[in-house]
Symmetry: C2
Subunit: 253 residues, 2 copies
């Protein structure tokens, strides 16, 4: 199982689908390997929301040649319907089916394709939906990246785990009572996907007794990053890609 790449179609002509993790936002925090693969890219694909360029494409700016073919993959739906709804799920399933078919056709013509992914692709990344569709039929190689949470806790100046600390990553989308319960079962916590769940997450942190240790991070490592104690954040307005860190208090030596 060396490398997240498994050639199973036996075709020597078929191209390779790469997914390169680009790290948390600062372009210098991408890996040497991702930078190398990008520098010789002929086709680059990336997800983005309607009317936005997408974080991944922004991070990769200037990292590939100007004559590289770009394949923007626009999400068909974002906040118009709840994630749990059939409407959302059907739209996304059809979207990933369609994009996987398009990429497969290009791979079958012998072209390599590089999919850009902010952070680390196998950690809550959209690419996994293409990966699950293509991994058994095509050559797929994934390059890990620095996660958004690593970039955020580093720039906050607070190590996240000490000694035997248990760290949990909690999506802010979870119900409040479940958030409270899970917050009580760990020593360090990272709450992701804050967005419109900010007020709920703040209440959960208060109930769990963690609110005074909580640090709010928005666009960590990007040029316009915001890092502050959660207690100092006056509004509950936050973008989807913000997060809250609760550093552990384990063994100091």
């Amino acid at each position: 199982m060396t490398g997240a790449g498994h050639s199973r179609n036996g075709s020597a002509q078929s191209g390779t689908l790469y997914c390169v993790g680009l790290g948390p936002g600062d372009p210098e925090l991408m890996t040497v390997k991702s930078a190398r693969i990008l520098s010789s890219a002929k086709i680059v694909a990336y997800f983005h929301k309607r009317g936005k360029r997408g974080n991944a494409r922004t991070i990769a700016d200037g990292m590939f040649k100007s004559d590289t073919l770009e394949l923007p993959m626009e999400y068909p739906i974002t906040t118009e319907a709840p994630v749990e709804s059939a409407k959302y799920q059907n739209a996304l399933t059809a979207f990933y089916d369609d994009k996987a078919l398009d990429l497969a056709n290009r791979l079958d013509k012998g072209h390599d394709i590089i999919v850009l992914c902010e952070g680390d692709p196998f950690f809550y990344g959209s690419f996994m939906h293409l990966y699950l569709r293509l991994r058994t039929t095509h050559n797929v190689k994934v390059v890990p990246g620095v996660t958004g949470m690593s970039g955020s806790w580093t720039n906050s100046g607070h190590p996240i785990t000490y000694g035997d600390d248990v760290m949990s990553v909690l999506p802010g989308t979870l119900p409040e009572d479940l958030l409270v319960q899970r917050m009580g079962q760990c020593d360090a916590a990272v709450i992701m996907k804050i967005g419109r769940h900010m007020a709920k997450v703040r209440r959960a942190l208060t109930t769990a007794g963690l609110v005074d240790r909580a640090i709010y991070v928005e666009r960590g490592t990007m040029v316009d990053e915001i890092i502050m104690p959660l207690a100092d954040k006056e509004t509950d307005k936050a973008p989807y890609f913000s997060m809250i860190l609760v550093p552990g208090q384990g063994r100091r030596l």
Copy 2:
């Protein structure tokens, strides 16, 4: 709070202490920023166990100039005494005090120093013990890295989290009943620091009903990595830097 670096001594002559995350093992998985900082290093320091070169030093091989001054920092004690014992804790506290003093003296002479750290420094890294001693008196800058767990789940071919999965990182050093309980409170799990705790961790995974989903990884992304279903691993012999992954089973689209 931009950058985990806080100049507080006001001395223009004092050097900067960098800690560069080097990633999980494959040297190409270090960040462009860490590689850049290393390429002009004049003094490089790193932790290692007695009689061993240390993973960090090995990953950085060939990344800095041959006339760079190397400062190996040898742990005074590793497995001779339990981590919980006063003997262990006193020895390590004195060790970090001593090394912090040595680095401070060199910084005060105006030298920059680069501390090498495998993985991501603020995620269970030894550097945090130096950081806590020096951050208020000296310029300290930390560069995040790809974690060992990111490198491992990528090379296993299994995305670790989907949708709203809760992921917990559990040190294998925890008591068995606590491991079982925490394993029941998450959707995806990473068990670190396996080593001599392997038999206990395997029992806990079995009790928690997770053993059939568990993947064993040893030296992930290094040239001699081993990745296999835990069920296929016949012995309970494992190095300290092995881990077990339990991928989540959240929303597929």
